[in-house]
Symmetry: C2
Amino acid sequence: MVTIADVAATAGVGAGTVSRVLNDRPKVSPSTRARVLAAIEELEYRPNPLARGLSLGRCQTLGVVVPFFTHASAVERLRGIVAALRDSRYDLVLFNVESPVHRDEHFEALTRRDRADGLLVLSLPPPPDHLARLRAAGVPIVLVDATAPGVPCVVTDDVEGGRIATRHLLSLGHRDIAFIGDSTANGFGFTSSARREEGYGQVLRAAGIRVRRSYVRHGAHERDVAARLAGQLLRLRVRPTAVFASSDVQATGVLAAARSHGLRVPEDLSVVGFDDIEISAYAGLTTVRQPLFDSGYLGARHLLDALEGGTPIMAAEHHLPLELVVRLTTTKPRSGARG
Amino acid sequence: MVTIADVAATAGVGAGTVSRVLNDRPKVSPSTRARVLAAIEELEYRPNPLARGLSLGRCQTLGVVVPFFTHASAVERLRGIVAALRDSRYDLVLFNVESPVHRDEHFEALTRRDRADGLLVLSLPPPPDHLARLRAAGVPIVLVDATAPGVPCVVTDDVEGGRIATRHLLSLGHRDIAFIGDSTANGFGFTSSARREEGYGQVLRAAGIRVRRSYVRHGAHERDVAARLAGQLLRLRVRPTAVFASSDVQATGVLAAARSHGLRVPEDLSVVGFDDIEISAYAGLTTVRQPLFDSGYLGARHLLDALEGGTPIMAAEHHLPLELVVRLTTTKPRSGARG
DNA sequence: CGGAAGGGTGGAACCGCTTCCACCGAACCG
DNA sequence: CGGTTCGGTGGAAGCGGTTCCACCCTTCCG
């Protein structure tokens, strides 16, 4: 393995000079620089990132903590992150989280600059104690789809998103609108679903519609679970004419349930999702679109800027817009659908 | 930042002793060990992975090179890899590839033990020159869904998969069976699709059916592209009664095309896919299932064993089984469908 | 009872890089 | 023309670990 000393010897200079050339520092004469570059070329020298990292106190690595990274929305956010990192010198290290224990282990490990130079956390509010330690250790951190006091984040207005979806159904004439969202006791502190539900409730109440307990169902963020919950809704005496699911994955579960109950969508049941993941266009799903790719991209750029600019990261909230995408799963309720 | 020297001072021992305790080496008396552990506890000491890596010549990192990591099949394989790494000490560094240049850059960077201790390459046959350099540098490598001479790999029999799908359609009574696969000139050397096509051709010829040129279409591995190609097929004078798509993503494109041409599936058109990704069950797609999760898991385990056992990795081929999953998109052709 | 053997230990050297400091020589100034 | 200044450079120190070697102190054996 060829080292900086070999290059120095070949070029007939000192190691320090080679280092200066490598890092584009001034104070190297053009002729020396050329000689060093020639030696690097000749020996096919590549700096050892570990040694560099040890010396510099950083490791050219960005940690991404992401719960259930195989979920379509997480993948799309990751895509944005990868795109942002594409032209940087940073590698992406993936920390998947599938349980709170899991999450704590990762945060534990990442509470030091030597594991990752910066942290991108998706959809997961870091526990306060970890956050405090991260701050103390000076590890820059950006949250995407989550918030914490004093931490920069990229978010959308989930409450407003809930309002948008519900207003859409309301404006079509629906009054019996159900909601399917994540378990409130998910152990991670995910809040998106609850906030969307909040918007749903606000709009209904503003329209003078009581939010029935039986119309609001919670379960794990999975298609099958959502399908089961939807099945329960569809068997109620007063069946809802529309369902707002707090994610597209759950919405497709609702579609499956409707199908297996012999109900046509949208004639018998309108369905609105949230996210606009790739499958949604294919499924013709009406949904509230949030810019998933952009959220990852912006979060990563924000982190990179802080890292490269050396400025302490600003605790700003970056808000991304939401947009109703009307496709084929929503329409007016049939007259007399009730009862 | 607390270092090994701090721990040594606190415990009243030398740095070497602390290191021995950390690495569970013998030749440390129980009492000394206890004292060191107490000091570690007290100071909340965590070894610096960079320093450790520099000294040891490895970095506790596994590189995963994956083209288009957002594709559902890649995500599922990644899930297997992450699961296998879960209880190891290795971090996962993701190298996404979206162009051959891209690929070469990554391989270039990874041709040294200091970037990753081992390499997992998905669906991508490494170019021979890179392979030679990797081998020279002693970087263990395992291929998943790809092969290269002398490199261990985890694969399925794609030719057989093509046969399975085509036999299924044939046994239902179809004779006009089209194929939609990846571009042959994809620049990456992907071969899965071509091998599935090979199996398709073998079965047809064995049944005495000529493979029509017009029934075989190639394009980028995307739903929309597949939908466009399927549209071309559906407008042919002699319309095929069945389509075998070389992946489920492409199969869903075919489904979309059928829908927009007013054709019912499976009555008017049977469709078989390949992979059995998550969406396939939802879409009711008949497909050839390959164990994606397992492929990632096994590949990673294989690599970890080699890394931890220190044994030079065996250049074995690990074959994973294929299985026909019949759902709702295939049935007998309507009599007189031809013409 | 002296010497060999060997467990237990401290500390120096080393991994490959960055950076600081000392130093050299040329240019510039009074 | 001697003394600053400053661009350019070599080399040592340091980053935080691991490992090797030397050494000490028992223990055991002849």
